[in-house]
Subunit: 81 residues, 2 copies
């Protein structure tokens, strides 16, 4: 089973990487960009075939390693292969 995880900064947390992209887009001549936020995208391939168990495992991975839950949110999508 494949899990797709999006880790994003919580609202209100400063995002210098996003700001840098915003500035660079402006320099390249793109107008109308109101804000940019950058996060991480992680794909995990699991041997587990049970959806519930896979979801629980991924959730724990996010809490323990993949996301810093003090400043980041995460969203999980599961795909049967």
């Amino acid at each position: 089973m494949k899990a797709r995880i999006k880790v994003t900064l919580k609202n209100g947390v400063l995002d210098p990487q996003g700001k840098a992209i915003e500035g660079a887009l402006g320099s390249l001549g793109f107008s109308g960009v109101e804000s940019v936020r950058q996060g991480k995208y992680i794909e995990v391939e699991l041997a587990e075939t049970d959806r519930k168990k896979a979801e629980a495992a991924i959730d724990e991975m996010c809490k323990k390693l993949l996301a810093n839950t003090v400043i980041e949110n995460y969203a999980i999508e599961l795909d049967e292969k």
Copy 2:
């Protein structure tokens, strides 16, 4: 209009960051992890309200700045606000 962009490494391109996560998950006792790939996730808020134009603008941003199309793929999702 809000665009959500996923930038992922093409198949066959080495992903040391993904490998590091895979190793760390193993050390934490998570078994059954077959592979991990890490990419970027970018949210762009646009003033543009026309869907077609917004899509074209985002596509150009990806080609010019956000993704390195030699080694990376990107996927765009557009959201009406």
